[in-house]
């Protein structure tokens, strides 16, 4: 199967410090790829370049054979809203909105009517076992609940790729595992690919394969049988 999303020889510096120094990655539909490596190795920068949030200094990112750098800013934003989903370490939910409104937000921004958007959001909250916090604000939920709401928000638009940056970093073991189970199961069911940045081996164990980033370079090890 050909790559859904692919990065080749990415270089990116912040000032004099190179964050990426020839990193690459390829993701197929429905695949969960863990991006591992020590703090400061460049894994989050790689994720941001793949997601079109950052533009690399050189190298190419292709999504469905189209170069992200060749797109206009507006097109890239649109792509992020329609085809990509995001889960970060600290949910990053909008504190003034209820959990239901948070999950419905990406749909509303895409022009879906409120009733329809909230109905779809509610079914995702149910799927992630947090329907009971629908009317609460994020500040009134536990860390585990908030992160499940964030996963629901990432998946509600039916993205082709979910970018998850240390999605369980702020959770205890049990909650972290549940979030990973729900995220990877839902992604498999919808054939969405997941790019999972983590430094935790037990989280990486939910992936299909891993890519290791060190000093801005990525490395994939062929399994030894």
């Amino acid at each position: 199967m050909s790559a859904l999303l692919e990065a080749v020889d990415l270089r990116k510096s912040f000032g004099p410090t190179p964050a990426l120094d020839g990193a690459g990655l390829s993701v197929r539909p429905g695949e969960v790829v863990a991006v591992m490596g020590p703090s400061g190795s460049g894994k989050s920068t790689l994720l941001h370049c793949l997601a079109g949030i950052l533009t690399p200094d050189s190298g190419v990112v292709r999504y469905r054979d189209v170069e992200l750098s060749a797109m206009a800013d507006g097109e890239r934003s649109e792509l992020r809203r329609t085809d990509f989903g995001f889960v970060f370490q600290f949910g990053q939910l909008v504190p003034e909105l209820s959990c239901l409104e948070n999950v419905a937000l990406p749909l509303r921004l895409g022009g879906v009517k409120r009733k329809e958007a909230e109905s779809r959001a509610r079914s995702w909250l149910e799927r992630l076992e947090v329907a009971d916090v629908a009317d609460k604000r994020p500040g009134e939920t536990s860390g585990g609940q908030g992160q499940r709401v964030a996963v629901a928000r990432a998946l509600v638009t039916g993205p082709r790729v979910v970018f998850a940056d240390e999605p369980t970093g702020a959770l205890d073991s049990l909650n972290g595992e549940r979030v990973m189970q729900l995220l990877t199961t839902a992604a498999k069911e919808t054939n969405a690919a997941v790019v999972l940045v983590t430094h935790e081996p037990r989280v990486a164990a939910y992936s299909d394969r891993e890519v290791v980033v060190r000093d801005g370079r990525s490395r994939e090890v062929e399994p030894v049988r």
Partner: protein, 173 residues
């Protein structure tokens, strides 16, 4: 795992014969390593000799006669003592991977490669355990978690070593 103590512990529920004890052991603790019949009978003979179990009649059936065994008071005391004695924490000081890393550095080969290949193998096993855990019941989850936490500890050490290869290289050469 001390098979003798485990069988004694199982016998506390009531007398049983070798075949049923093996079944009970395999169901609860034998997940990847079921007992051989030979092990069960050798262990029971030893427990009998040491007065920790006694014969409690013979069960006639279609096959050969089956001796039933019951735990004795001395056996119960032994179980209580065993449960109250902590398992010796494994010091983990004999580390093959460390030796491989040092030898790779000494011989000018890639120590990164050694660590990368090991990471990949560890993660593959962790994936299998994670899948098994997702499909299994609470018992599977606890057994797999025990293995997963140990493998994770190895990987944490591996990452730390990967980050210190430069330093290590200067020290060992």
């Amino acid at each position: 795992m001390s098979i003798g103590h485990t069988l004694l512990g199982l016998l506390e529920k009531g007398p049983s014969h070798g075949y049923d004890l093996k079944k009970a052991y395999d169901e609860r603790f034998g997940h990847d390593r079921p007992l051989h019949y030979g092990q069960v009978y050798t262990t029971l003979s030893r427990l009998l000799r040491n007065g920790l179990v006694e014969e409690a009649g013979v069960e006639a059936g279609d096959g050969p006669e089956r001796k039933r065994y019951a735990i004795t008071d001395a056996g119960v005391t032994d179980v209580v003592q065993w449960l109250g004695t902590p398992e010796k924490p494994e010091p983990y000081l004999q580390n093959t991977l460390y030796a491989k890393v040092v030898l790779a550095l000494l011989s000018g080969r890639s120590a990164d490669e050694v660590l990368d290949v090991q990471r990949s193998a560890h993660l593959r096993t962790m994936r299998e355990l994670t899948r098994r855990k997702a499909e299994g019941d609470l018992v599977d989850q606890l057994i797999c978690d025990h293995a997963l936490f140990h493998l994770e500890a190895d990987l944490r050490w591996l990452e730390l070593t990967a980050a210190r290869l430069g330093q290590l290289s200067e020290v060992v050469r």
